[in-house]
Amino acid sequence: MFSASDLRKGLKIQLEGEPYIVTEFQFSKPGKGQALYRTKMRNMISGNQFTQTYRSNDKFEKADLEERTMQFLYSQDDDFHFMDTTSYEQIFLTREQLGDNINFLIDNMEVQVLFFDGTRPIDVSMPMFVNLEVTIADPWVKGDTSGSDTKPVTVETGYVLQVPPFVEAGDKIQIDTRSGEYMTRVKE
């Protein structure tokens, strides 16, 4: 159990059966008045935010969250299937739950899946960098003087990003999964 005085940015708690993360927090106490804990929280499943002021005798349950290493197997329609690498248990997350992460998911990739209540997968955290193969790219014309520093290419997941002009189809490139930006060309 947490009490209101434990509240701080980043704390994960459970309210009415749902996991929440504290996104903003402010302690206030008017003169001769009681301690107030003004808190903004985000529902970790729906993404809904709300603001609430708590008093020091308010109590909160710890959110039951657990991360497991899982391997991406395949996608079917909007469901993305993963397998636990130790128990071989299979689960799926929806396209909506994965958000931009689908741009970087390839078969057999290992990711961390966040479970709520032991059984409900609610989020994935990707490796910081992924290496993906370029599938479509305009050829590099040496001596190109058009002045453009970058060009768009498509990678094996269908994701389109800006890269330097020397990157060609068949190359592997490293991408930062947080920003979605090109990092470097990878030699294999």
Binding site: S5, Q26, F27, S28, K29, G33, A35, L36, T53, S56
Partner: protein, 302 residues
Amino acid sequence: MLLQALRSFFYTRQYLEVDTPLRLPVIIPESHIQPFVSEECFLQTSPELCMKLLLAEGNSKIFQICHCFRKEEHGGLHQGEFTMLEWYQAGWNYYDLMGECEELLCELVQLFQNWSGVSTATNILRQGKTISLKPPWQKMTVTEAFQQFGGVSAFQAMEEDCFDEILVEKIEPNLGWDCPLFLYDYPAQLASLARKKTDNPTLAERFELYIAGIELANGFSELIDAEEQADRFAEEISMIKKANGYKVSMPDVLLRSLGKMTETAGIALGVDRLLMLLSGRASIEEVVSFTADDFNVERSLQ
């Protein structure tokens, strides 16, 4: 520099500087202030008790700059240990103190006009807004403030147990942006050490000074009727018992002395908050010399 200027202000006005113990075997019971326990004593949450004992002994103008300790208070405007400036003057009421607050702040701003929180000899600068210190400053009763900003009357807020929430969320952020503002005449339950108003005993002669939404000082016409004070301490003690489950003892030593006090007004001002305002800093953590984190070697190496 600020400490020097504060002392000089009070010395010039013939106040006596006093120095009272930080560790005391007895404290004033206040339901929302939690003291740190130090062996068989408490660390003071304010110097009020000892200073009133000195007033009862015949001192009429005293001030003190000291450290106070309050448990479980930590935020941009709160630290478990902080510096308080507290002063009393016999023969005065709370209006007289409001006037002296104006004089004190005007003198400080004049002195420190090159500091980042000050824009000219008469203005404070906060979040891009200019706050003029030219007296007289604005005065607003708690009743008016709830009407104007609270969306509910102060009386109703007390009844519905949401007074503090409305004050903090809806009212305080609006106070003291054109010029400093005195919020005054609080419900008597929220001022157990202040004299009740003779024409309306549901209110007490207490005020808070606000600058840029920040509560800077709390003053009142002191309650000197020992019998009434005992009743009101008893209410606080029972509220503490109800909320925290332990019994606090009645500060008999203070009650015995109150009878010897004459009409007096007293005020406490947060020195860290004042320094934060004048130096244009965002939180008091940035103006105190050390915080607990400064002693955490592992953390400071990171």
